[in-house]
Amino acid sequence: MSNWYMVTVVGHDQPGIVAGLSRVLSEGGWGLGESSMARLGGNFTIMMMVRGEGSASDLAQVIDPVGTSMGLHVHIDRIQAELHQHPEPNVQIRVYGADRTGIVADVTGDLAGAGLTILDLNSEVSGTGDSPVYVIVIDGFVENGADALDSAVQLLNKKGLKVDVEPIDILVG
């Protein structure tokens, strides 16, 4: 029976990291599941579900040559994997405001209180160095639909944030 692991890799961004990682994994007999790579503040980051017969240290050995040569920090966790279980979002929330400490905490705290489950979140510090703007886009699920978030959104707007809520209507055809 094969095991699933979550492999997290962080490092200075440079060409060829994904290619290098996926090459040694496939040559070592390890399979990939879902993955998510993002460049955050100039840093390379990726999380990959990896499946294979061996232990976490077997997996670490396979990745090590690439990790060492590219100066990457690699972290491995044994996980339970649920493929083919993708909860669909029914609401998208877009937020922006002048950057200050606690924006994400304010937004996610108030929205979670109103019943939002976050399925996907991306944020960026945009604008200029002098007047940074924080931008957040969230895909989530609210049991009772977008309207359930209305009062939380009003509260956030009073805190000086611009918050937009839009239902996600999935088109199946």
Binding site: Y96, D147, V172
Partner: protein
């Protein structure tokens, strides 16, 4: 009347461009009835195209009424033309763009964001061979474009945007 089997990716017949209908006969009427019945069995489908049931003809149905008539307060922005039988459809005008999340009866367990024209003018025949023209926007327009893609051997997978690209479009629009 019959519920037809829906082909799923990677069935290669989904990639074959469909042929124009030249004969508006009884079997065409029957095909439209069967497509309708098959669509209604699908989970929340608002359209279906003949290539999805292995018939390589330019025939599709779109009916977004069930979604627009849902009892939620926030309904998708959309024109309403009821049930559209689209035979040999041609988009003769496009205006604006809109992104939305799509899934497909032929691509189970995957949804993704797709960029479509917001407003379209589409010419098509109905099952009796009568020419029709529809002005559509929003959800209905997206559904028609999804189905015409099937007639051209394309799946929405050919057009999915990365979450990051969507983030930029939504956040900085």
């Amino acid at each position: 009347m019959a519920v037809l089997e829906i082909l799923t990716y990677p069935d290669t017949r989904l990639s074959d461009p469909a042929l124009p209908v030249t004969d508006f006969n009884r079997s065409l009427v029957q095909l439209v009835v069967d497509l309708q019945e098959t669509m209604l069995v699908g989970p929340g489908a608002v359209g279906i195209a003949a290539p999805q049931v292995g018939v390589a003809q330019r025939v599709a149905i779109v009916d977004v009424s069930p979604v627009l008539e849902g009892d939620r307060n926030r309904k998708p922005k959309s024109s309403r033309n009821g049930r559209l039988v689209l035979i040999n459809p041609e988009i003769v005008e496009r205006d604006g763009e809109v992104t939305g999340r799509e899934g497909c009866l032929s691509v189970p367990d995957y949804t993704g964001n797709v960029l479509r024209a917001d407003a379209i003018r589409v010419q098509a025949s109905n099952e009796l061979g009568e020419s029709r023209e529809y002005h559509c926007h929003g959800f209905e327009s997206r559904a028609i474009q999804h189905e015409i893609d099937h007639l051209d051997g394309k799946l929405f997978l050919d057009r999915v945007m990365s979450p990051r690209e969507l983030f930029r479009r939504k956040a900085y629009k």
